[in-house]
């Protein structure tokens, strides 16, 4: 800037400097990512900023009062109803990710170690249930767990129970069962990938050093597949905390989760700031829980030694 003001002889130098700047690696790199970076900024960061901003404002009937307040957070953190809903959501999502990983692991293990030439066919078969809509899959669990459902009539027919059980549907267990089924494939895939990456001679080496099949699994295969377990758990846990379709359809009043409350605030109750505060609180707590899960699995991995 000063150079241009001083006259033309130095003008060339600034241009040279500008060219050098434009050709430098960091600038070129930034220029290269800028379209996708802007895209990510607009679609990922802006919505979160909007939500965070709303959480500090107040709903004033039809308008929003933009003075800063922490009142929404006070309500979100102290009202027993929201606390209970949040705890229940965390409990349900923890259970769902636990059961999903436990049920997905043997399937991923089978495909990876015994799938032979048909690995891709097996993976393809696993995705088949996902060709139908998520809603349809949730509805079909109503058919299975319902009062006159498949499970009840089966148990009645076998004489195990005398009258249809009402304990199957419209509670948190029904939500856990349905979500576990719905997220299975998302847990199978990362675990499968991490199992595929394990060098098979490591398992042979464990056997050579005296380990039977179970010991070599616990000491080599399982710890080395921990990254897959971690990502499977996170992929399932994080979205299930915020799920509101499943609890609405199969949860009854016992299975209501925090997302249903958030939806109500943004919808019928028309209190966006409170809904935003609930969202932000949930987001933060989910982050903490995800971090804790990673730490727990890592610690378990170290124990396996």
């Amino acid at each position: 800037m000063t150079a241009t003001a001083e006259g033309s002889p130095t003008f060339g130098m600034t241009r040279a400097r500008r060219n050098a700047l434009l050709q430098s690696e960091p600038v070129q790199g930034l220029a290269l990512i800028s379209p996708t970076f802007l895209y990510a900024l607009v679609l990922l960061v802006l919505p979160i900023l909007v939500v965070v901003a709303h959480s500090f404002w107040t709903q004033n009937y039809l308008t929003i009062d933009r003075t800063f307040t922490l009142e929404n957070y006070r309500v979100a953190l102290t009202e027993p109803i929201y606390r209970d809903l949040l705890w229940r959501s965390l409990y349900i999502s923890l259970m769902v990710s636990f059961f999903t990983v436990v049920l997905a692991y043997p399937i991923a293990y089978f495909i990876s170690f015994h799938g032979g030439r048909h690995k891709s066919l097996w993976l393809f078969l696993i995705t088949i249930p996902f060709w139908t809509s998520y809603l349809l899959r949730v509805m079909s669990w109503k058919v299975i767990l319902g009062y006159n459902g498949v499970l009840n009539s089966g148990l009645l027919g076998l004489g195990i129970i005398n009258e249809p059980s009402t304990a199957l549907l419209y509670n948190s267990s029904a939500v856990i069962i349905t979500l576990t089924h719905a997220w299975a494939a998302f847990a199978i895939l990362p675990i499968f990938v991490s199992l595929e990456k394990i060098d098979r001679t490591l398992v042979e080496a464990a056997k050579d050093l005296g380990d039977g099949p179970i010991r070599s699994f616990l000491r080599v295969t399982l710890p080395l597949s921990a990254p897959g377990i971690i990502s499977a758990a996170l992929i399932v846990m994080i979205p299930t905390v915020g799920d509101y379709v499943t609890p609405k359809l199969v949860g009854g009043k016992d299975g209501v989760m925090i997302a249903n409350a958030i939806q109500a605030q943004f919808g019928k109750a028309s209190n966006w700031p409170l809904g935003a505060a609930l969202s932000v609180t949930t987001m933060l707590i989910v982050t903490l829980m995800a971090g804790a899960t990673v730490l727990v699995i890592r610690a378990a991995q170290r124990l396996a030694r």
Binding site: E204, K207, G210, D211, R305
Partner: protein, 329 residues
């Protein structure tokens, strides 16, 4: 190389340690190993040598228990290995890729097999330390496998197997991933280690020089069959057939007739006089077929050499196969 603690070192004896009887391994119609029979003696450094795909690794994996023979019998130390899984065999293996556990450090890798023996903490520590000393890896115990060089990884694999004090140590091309200099150094070290611990070593290799330099005896294999089992010297000097001779290094092949010989001369020249007095070939470093061996033995051969004559002698000297002795066609 420090002395190992085991006072009773089984020196090389005539007692058979591994017996392989008529072992065949087929995959569909393809026979990876075809009716192989072999006896490896206690305390021996034995090499399975052959080009890739000759069945040497298949045989090693069957001794280790990772594969089972389609027919035939393998026994180790007088005990049949049929139906015994790899984890209950008195053998340990050094894998070609070394198979170092990436989630464990060097000490934990070496102690891996000992954990199952439930030794006392101090005893386990002592044996790990001892094994690390044996392979000159002291002071690296806390390193992760990912922080080691190729040569160091190989030593960890060696220590991990030796610490188990197996009756037989199986080595699957352990030196093939190392550079030439390190490989030569490791050849010497491996040999010295084997002499020190007195364990039977079975080495699989496709490197002739490696096999010749290290082994007490060598089995040369081609296409799933064992062609010759003998000492390195014998295999080099008196190969049973052209294939073996060719695989073991430069060889001049002749279509020739032995005109004059005393037995010793032919042997020194590397010629195998057959019943029809046809000579087969000789090594480049031997002067030639009609030369006198220092021992005074001599042989005279008339014939034609196949292809180019390879000479191991520098700066000329007598031609290997005199033109005047070879027929002019």
């Amino acid at each position: 190389m420090p002395k190992p603690p085991q006072a009773e070192r089984p020196r090389q004896t005539e007692r058979p340690m591994i017996e392989i009887r008529n072992v065949t391994r087929s995959y569909g119609s393809f026979k990876a190993l075809d009716d192989a029979s072999l006896t490896i003696k206690e305390g021996e450094f034995f090499s399975l040598l052959g080009p890739s795909g000759c069945g040497k690794t298949t045989l090693l994996r069957m001794i280790a228990g990772f594969d089972n023979p389609t027919s035939g019998l393998i026994s180790v130390d007088g005990q049949s290995m049929e139906g015994i899984p790899a984890n209950r065999r008195p053998t340990n293996m050094v894998f070609q890729s070394y198979a170092i556990f990436p989630h464990l450090n060097v000490e934990q890798n070496v102690a891996y097999g000992l954990k199952r023996l439930r030794l006392e903490r101090s005893e386990e520590k002592r044996r790990v330390e001892e094994a690390l000393v044996q392979v000159s890896l002291t002071g690296l115990g806390k390193r992760l496998a990912t922080e080691l060089s190729g040569g160091q990884r190989q030593r960890v694999a060696l220590a991990r197997a030796l610490v188990m004090r197996p009756k037989v140590l199986l080595l699957d091309e352990p030196l093939s991933a190392l550079d030439k200099k390190l490989r030569e150094q490791m050849q010497v070290e491996l040999r010295r280690l084997q002499q020190a611990v007195g364990i039977t070593f079975v080495l699989v290799t496709h490197d002739q020089y490696e096999a010749l330099a290290m082994s007490d005896r060598i089995a040369v294999m081609f296409g799933g069959r064992i062609a010759q089992v003998a000492s390195p010297k014998e295999i080099y000097q008196r190969p049973v057939n052209r294939q073996v001779a060719d695989f073991l290094g430069g060889m001049n092949f002749v279509k020739a007739e032995i005109v004059e010989e005393d037995g010793a001369g032919c042997r020194h020249a590397g010629l195998r006089p057959r019943q029809d007095r046809q000579a087969e070939g000789f090594r480049p470093q031997w002067r030639g077929c009609d030369a006198r061996h220092p021992s005074g033995a001599s042989a005279r051969v008339v014939g034609q050499c196949d292809g180019e004559i390879r000479s191991g002698r520098q700066g000329g000297g007598a031609p290997l196969l005199r033109r005047d002795h070879s027929s002019d066609r």
